[in-house]
Each structure stands twice: as C-alpha cells, then as structure tokens.
C-alpha cells in the first residue's frame, strides 16, 4: 500500500503513522521491519539564524516525481508499504517537513529503502525553500546539505 501526499497544512507524523497502520492490510502482520524518517525545520543554516521558511513546489511534477521514486524503491527493496508526507507553505523551526515510513520483511531493506527515498526526493522532487532570517530578510536555499 502506498500513501503519498503533499500537505499544505501542518501534519503530525506520529498521528499519520498511527492512522496509516489502521488499514486492514496491516492486520496480517507480514512486515518484520518499519523504518521511519522525520525531517523537521531547524533554526539555523549557513551560519545564520532562521526564524521561518516557505516551501514552494511544482505541483504537477511533484506528484509524478514522488510516485515514480516511491514505486522504484518499492520494486527494488520489495517493500510492503510506504507512507510519505511532504509539507509546503509557511513553516517554523521544529515543524515537520517530511515523513518517510517504509515497511519491509527485514531491517536491512527497511533502512536502505528509507534512505533511498529521502535522498532521491532531495535530489529530484521539485521543492524549493526560502528562508526568513532573524533580521527579516529573505533568502532562497541554493543547495541541499550533505546529509
């Protein structure tokens, strides 16, 4: 089961996880591993204090890119389920930006698949961040951190 959403409002990753696992597909208990990554906004970047951020995206392409990268990962690692959330709009430090959760038979596939989805998303999915610094000035984030 795949559940991919771009969220224009804030989301609670743990609530999303709990809700997703209510689905009858989880009843059989066939997955032996569940790897979860939550990315949140931090209050610093490039040596500056960041007080807020706006996430922009290219909606039609975002949907296609996320579906493609998740499907490729499911096939490669034989995943049972994937839950993916990504925030857009105005956010503040501590707010969740992204949730990647994968379910697999064994832990190695779970860890590796979770990482692959995150790295592919960061390199390919058309999202852009614009920071508001402590003096109120705006700055586009020009590159990803090394991870």
């Amino acid at each position: 089961m795949l559940d991919i959403q771009v969220c224009e409002q804030g989301f609670d990753p743990w609530h999303e996880l709990a809700t997703f696992q209510q689905h009858p597909d989880f009843a059989a208990g066939k997955s032996g591993a569940n790897a979860v990554f939550v990315g949140t906004m931090r209050d610093f970047n490039e040596g500056d204090t960041v007080q807020a951020m706006t996430l922009e995206h290219y909606p039609a392409m975002t949907t296609r890119q996320l579906q493609t990268l998740v499907q490729e990962t499911v096939t490669r690692f034989r995943l049972d389920h994937v839950l993916l959330r990504h925030r857009v709009g105005a956010i503040r430090p501590g707010d969740p930006i992204v949730l990647v959760a994968v379910w697999s038979a064994h832990r190695a596939a779970g860890f590796d698949a979770c990482r692959q989805i995150m790295e592919t998303l960061k390199h390919n999915a058309p999202f852009w961040k614009r920071e508001t610094l402590s003096d109120g000035s705006l700055r586009w984030v020009e590159r990803n951190t090394a991870g």
């Binding site: 392409m61 390919n124 999915a125 058309p126 852009w128 990803n144």
Partner: protein, 77 residues
C-alpha cells in the same frame, strides 16, 4: 501551436513572472524555448528543465503544446 513556459522559485523572482508562452517551431529544443521566453542568448548551466513534468536536457526536442518548466536546483526534504 504554442508552448506553455513556467518559472519557479528564485528564477521566477529574477525574471519577474511565473509563466510565459512562446510559439512552437519544428525541431525546437528546450534551450530555444528558454531563449525565446526570456530574451537571453543561452540557457544557464545551473537551470534545470522539465518537459511535461519530466526532467529533460537543454538539447531535448519539445513537442507542440508541451509544458516546459525552468527552475533552480531543488531543495526539498
């Protein structure tokens, strides 16, 4: 017989508009779409391109009625 052109993020702000429209021509490349839409002479190396929501290259041929998007490196996640 036209191409819908989209600009995102810092590129949109630099160019001062979110979209443009250019007339389609046979054998047209993404770089030529950029030049017609912006008035610039070449596609900058750090600009990413997508045609109909899939990544493509500057030399990729563009079909009529396509949606071509130009944007800076992505920074999601």
């Amino acid at each position: 017989m036209s191409i819908r052109v989209l600009f995102f993020a810092s590129l949109r702000e630099q160019l001062g508009r979110p979209q443009a429209e250019v007339a389609w021509q046979p054998e047209m490349t993404a770089s030529q779409v950029w030049c017609l839409a912006t008035g610039q002479t070449r596609l900058p190396g750090n600009v990413l391109v997508a045609c109909n929501q899939e990544y493509c290259r500057g030399e990729s041929l563009i079909d009529d009625a396509a949606e071509v998007a130009f944007f800076p490196p992505v920074t999601g996640g």
